[in-house]
């Protein structure tokens, strides 16, 4: 027996009525209950269901509520000894004046906020992204380059966390001499690289490090300027215009998990030199230019969500998706946790440069890279989506002049296949919903169409004989091909009832009750016992082929006739 928090529902009394009204009153606790005197009794009105006739068919008034104090019950809070099976409750419930005893359950806050513990792991994210389906479709990011425009990547940490990867140091970029791609201090950029590799473990990473270091003190700065991003994007544009290497297509995915937290960092909105709301700003124009070159560009939506914004937002939570993070030529990514609930800090739309931002959500706030307690922020959601984009590009590489293969075409594909969350259709909390790897695979990888074997065409005699084996029922994978809705039905002609080949069919050995059913030995002969299903089929087909010549059967499909494969 342990002391547990409980709610006790008590019948009306004058003391309870007064205490509920905030007046001085002495409320006696039931025996066995340690009452919480700081919790004022809560009146619970009497509620009765109304008949539709009585309610006048008004859908909103299915209940009759009597909130008079005299007819109400009152809930008090306390502690009592209860065991796992609930023993101890009956003794209290049996007391006069006690209507019921209920557990006072602890309610955990559902919303993920800065500092919350991680929810789920990167393995959950793999499952949610439908990675097994991606792999079955041969999609793992091979041949696609993903640029992590960030604080720098630490390859050793990724390897230690079970993420072996390819990093193209030669095409990476560092902001100052003396820095080496792949050797940055373990930090934000390493987390982003890890999260790309969840969906796209075979993508080639580019380390585009923006944070400079104070080389005298070996410390890394925590911020950078938009001019640093301009230089980095200039480098990326030069890569897009250069020749591809063998085995590497021209596709480039660019992950940007950074942004401007507050407008005070910028020229005022309306000023000709403003960045946040100005498509003419050099960096916003550069983003458009890189997208026109064929790059898929992703930006984090930001962490100034209204429910629990990052402290750096300085309390501003409206209209916070600005600058390149809101550019029409990028995917702006919000964050949901592994229960597909929007995290409280994920910025809400609209966007400054394009209204419908964020575009979609990715998964965040999970136990992943071990760089932080949780791979969090819209920072983590963005590379999770970037990895899926890399898989898309593997099947649909960028080809100049092909709209479906343009960055806009890929954005449309990803947005149209999202799992819708929140309000139906697009909404400013979730965009078009959360990235859906399963739906993307279904759209990109066509199902196999048509039967694997047309038995009747290949073995016409088989279809003219009276049935002794229903091959289609016994071996449905032969007749129905693979995953076609509706399944391809192989039409079988009706058997010619005039034709009986005594060499094949011994009428005396046919079990009429088994005609149309697949069954070993149903007229097939005493020595037709097979242990290997395929060799059994081969023997039957060979026997059919050697059966001799019969008159042509009439057409038509039927089940139970011939091979019985035409079920339609």
């Amino acid at each position: 027996m342990t002391m547990r928090p409980v709610l006790i529902e008590l019948e009306h009394s004058a003391a309870l009525e007064s205490a509920a009204a905030g007046l001085e009153a002495v409320v006696t606790a039931p025996a066995g209950v340690l009452m919480d005197s700081s919790f004022a009794p809560v009146p619970v009105p009497a509620v009765a269901a109304r008949s539709p006739l009585e309610a006048g068919f008004e859908s909103a008034s299915g209940f009759a509520v009597d909130d008079r104090p005299i007819t109400s019950t009152y809930v008090v809070r306390g502690m009592m000894e209860v065991d796992e099976a609930g023993a101890g409750v009956e003794a209290v419930t049996a007391q006069p004046g006690v209507r019921g005893v209920f557990a006072d359950v602890e309610v955990e806050p559902q919303l993920i906020c800065p500092g919350s513990a991680p929810m789920g792991t990167h393995l959950d994210v793999e499952r949610l992204l439908c990675v097994p389906n991606l792999r079955r479709a041969g999609m793992d990011g091979s041949g696609v380059t993903v640029a992590i425009v960030d604080s720098g990547i630490n390859s050793a940490h990724l390897n230690a966390q079970g993420k072996p990867h390819t990093l193209d140091a030669a095409r990476s970029w560092v902001p100052q001499a003396g820095m080496t791609p792949g050797t940055a201090p373990v930090g934000h950029g390493t987390m982003c690289a890890f999260d790309v590799l969840i969906a796209a473990p075979k993508a080639t990473l580019l380390d585009i490090a923006l944070l400079r270091s104070n080389q005298a003190t070996s410390t890394q700065f925590k911020t950078f300027l938009i001019s640093d991003a301009l230089r980095a994007y200039n480098h990326l544009r030069s890569l897009m215009s250069g020749l591809t290497r063998p085995g590497v297509n021209r596709s480039l995915v660019v992950n940007n998990s950074w942004g401007q937290f507050h407008s005070s960092w910028d020229f005022p909105v309306g000023n000709a030199g403003n960045y946040s709301h100005n498509p003419s700003h050099p960096f916003n124009k550069m983003v458009a230019a890189l997208e026109a070159d064929g790059a898929d560009i992703l930006f984090a939506a930001g962490n100034c969500g209204s429910d629990c914004p990052d402290g750096r937002c300085q309390g501003v939570t409206a209209n916070t998706i600005v600058g390149a993070n809101s550019h029409p030529a990028v995917l702006s990514v919000g964050g949901v946790d592994t229960s597909k609930t929007r995290v409280g800090y994920s910025a809400k739309g609209p966007g400054a440069l394009s209204r419908n931002k964020p575009d979609l959500c990715g998964y965040t706030h999970f136990d992943g890279s071990k760089v932080y307690a949780a791979d969090g922020g819209t920072s983590a959601a963005t590379p999770v989506v970037a990895g899926v984009i890399a898989c898309v590009r593997q099947k649909r590489p960028f080809v100049p002049g092909n709209p479906a293969a343009s960055p806009a075409g890929v954005r449309d594909l990803v947005r149209s296949t999202c799992q819708d969350l929140g309000a139906a259709g697009y909404d400013f909390d979730h965009g078009f919903g959360v990235i859906n790897g399963c739906a993307i695979v279904d759209k990109l990888v066509p199902r196999i169409v048509g039967p694997v074997i047309d038995l009747c065409r290949r073995f016409p005699d088989l279809c003219r004989r009276p049935p002794f084996i229903d091959i289609c029922r016994r071996y449905p994978w032969i007749c129905e091909g693979v995953w076609r809705e509706p399944p391809i039905r192989i039409p079988f002609p009706e058997p010619d009832p005039r034709v009986i080949d005594p060499r094949i069919v011994d009428p005396g050995r046919i079990n009429p009750g088994r005609i149309g059913q697949s069954a070993m030995g149903a007229g097939a002969g005493e020595d037709a016992m097979m242990s290997d299903e395929e060799s059994e089929l081969a023997m039957m087909l060979a026997a059919a082929y050697e059966a001799g010549r019969l008159d042509a059967a009439s057409g038509g499909a039927s089940h139970g006739g011939g091979c019985g494969c035409g079920k339609g």
Binding site: P185, T219, K222, R231, P282, F283, G376
Partner: protein, 96 residues
């Protein structure tokens, strides 16, 4: 103080630092050499350089009266990473 981003139109592709300086009415040495002259809009022929405040003010004068809203001095705001906002876990080799 952060340098300013100045964007301008140039009629021929890939202007040199000297050509950019001439367009902006400043000395070539005033253009940040590490930044260089970066193309920001290949269709419109827009390029960007990085200048300190004084040079930016003179460049603004040179570009004054341009009807092109893309020509002028632009903000160079600080950007920050949108991650958890905490320092990485200890023991991972971070130098801070």
């Amino acid at each position: 103080m952060a340098k300013a981003v100045v964007q301008f139109h140039f009629p021929t592709p890939n202007p040199t630092i000297e050509q950019a300086a001439g367009r902006l009415g400043i000395a070539p040495s005033e253009i940040d050499a590490e930044f260089g002259v970066i193309e920001t809009d290949p269709v419109a022929g827009h390029y960007t350089v990085l200048l300190d405040a004084a040079a930016a003010a003179r460049a603004a004068e040179a570009l004054k009266g341009s009807a092109d809203p893309a020509e002028g001095v632009f903000s160079n705001p600080e950007q920050e990473l949108l991650g958890p906002g905490e320092d990485p876990e200890p023991g991972d080799g971070l130098v801070s």
